[in-house]
Symmetry: C2
Subunit: 226 residues, 2 copies
DNA sequence: AGCCTGTATATTGTTGACAATACTGTCTTC
DNA sequence: GAAGACAGTATTGTCAACAATATACAGGCT
């Protein structure tokens, strides 16, 4: 049965996916109040499944809801975005450490291969921040999964990354940073390949801290308004 | 208006709270399949709001849902529970550090006062694990809130604690551990009072690690089956 | 003129009925 | 006698109408 893995998708799941990507891609702008009927016609849904999806999104912190008053996309302030990076720092540090202990050799080989792909992507898609961001996302995704820590991966992939990506979509990566980030990625993978969990954790924390400082600097220089 | 803060509660919120506490208190046992209509009659609800609540709970990882097949309470294995503690270790470490930097003097004073209350609780309610657990929860709750990191507090209080409490309800605290835990709490508060974030983080991580080892030992000794 | 109050309206919350799907038991066949 | 297929049933997913509430606007009062 090749179709055994085809899980039946319910309308609520569909609604959830649609809304989540719409929020991440910035089609629904933060702070904007959105009506239920408008969303229904927009995504061809009925209100039942939609409300279920809204509940899930609210629970994940992507929406805020006031009873009888409507829902709106969450708007994260600059300081809150920085706090998000602080959380990522410790959680992904843990993920890197556990990945070093638990990833299979095959997974590590694949991870190295993806880094090569990313390098080509950065060279080819010169300045196209979108693809660079996707590459970065891919890397962190693999580490989170490689940790074999179900809840940790769930929290990173299901919660934090969506919120971070929501902002990464609209801020261009600074020139030079992608190459530096790639170098940092390589060192982290090196540590994982050597099964040095402590080092992998340290390097990952420093990597995310660098990304945070990069954004912080941009905000202070006024290049970026959130 | 003293009633300005009375947020209108919707039936879905009610359903969510009911189910969450029912799961945490063990009234709904893990792995057990539960029907929607049964839940409705049990909590005097209708299926609409209930389904919304189920969606939220699934999104938080307290329930697992298979389309057209029903929902069941998530059953966390022993190793998964240990992973939960690993996550707590890094996240609460961060919370303690930020709390040391940001809590007001008043909050610290209050925190010290609650520790005195906990001490009395432990002495009086000799062996009554329930109250001891509540005191412990209270302490960690205050630290998380004191971090002034909205998302961090949300993830700790809204996600992790419920899963941990779900198991703490059914496992008795070992004799001797409450007093030791209280001592550890005192040292953490001491570090926070001295605004020593680094120390607070270290002590909190060690505290949670000790709790993890305590449970791990019990499981290995067979005193505890999950 | 500004503020408060009351009503109208539009939006959200809720309900119960209907449709689709997975499980269970029985019957048939090997 | 056991295994597979079929149908019935019970449960979940979906829908559209109804009720409740917050916002907005208009009118009156201070």
């Amino acid at each position: 049965m090749s179709e055994a893995t085809i899980q039946t998708y319910t309308r609520a799941d569909e609604a959830f996916d649609c809304l989540q990507t719409a929020i991440v891609k910035g089609e629904l702008i933060p702070g904007e109040k959105i009506g239920e009927v408008e969303l229904c016609s927009r995504f061809n849904l009925t209100r039942g499944p939609l409300r279920e999806a809204l509940g899930r999104l609210e629970s994940r912190g992507l929406l805020v809801r006031r009873p009888h008053a409507g829902v709106k996309v969450v708007s994260v302030s600059a300081s809150e975005l920085m706090e998000l990076y602080r959380i990522r720092e410790v959680m992904e540090g843990l993920a890197a450490r556990q990945a070093a202990e638990r990833m299979t050799d095959q997974e590590i080989t694949d991870l190295k291969a993806t880094l090569d792909t990313h390098e080509r992507m950065i060279d080819e898609a010169q300045g196209q921040a979108y693809y660079q961001a996707e590459g970065d996302y891919d890397f962190h995704h693999r580490i989170a999964t490689g940790s074999r820590n179900t809840k940790l991966a769930q929290m990173l992939l299901g919660d934090l990354y969506y919120m971070v990506r929501m902002y990464r979509y609209r801020l261009s990566t600074s020139t030079g940073r992608p190459h530096r980030a790639l170098g940092e990625h390589r060192r982290i993978v090196e540590a994982i390949a050597q099964r040095d969990g402590e080092l992998a954790e340290f390097l990952m924390k420093r990597h995310i801290n660098a990304a945070r400082l990069n954004i912080e600097r941009k905000i202070q220089e006024g290049e970026l308004t959130i």
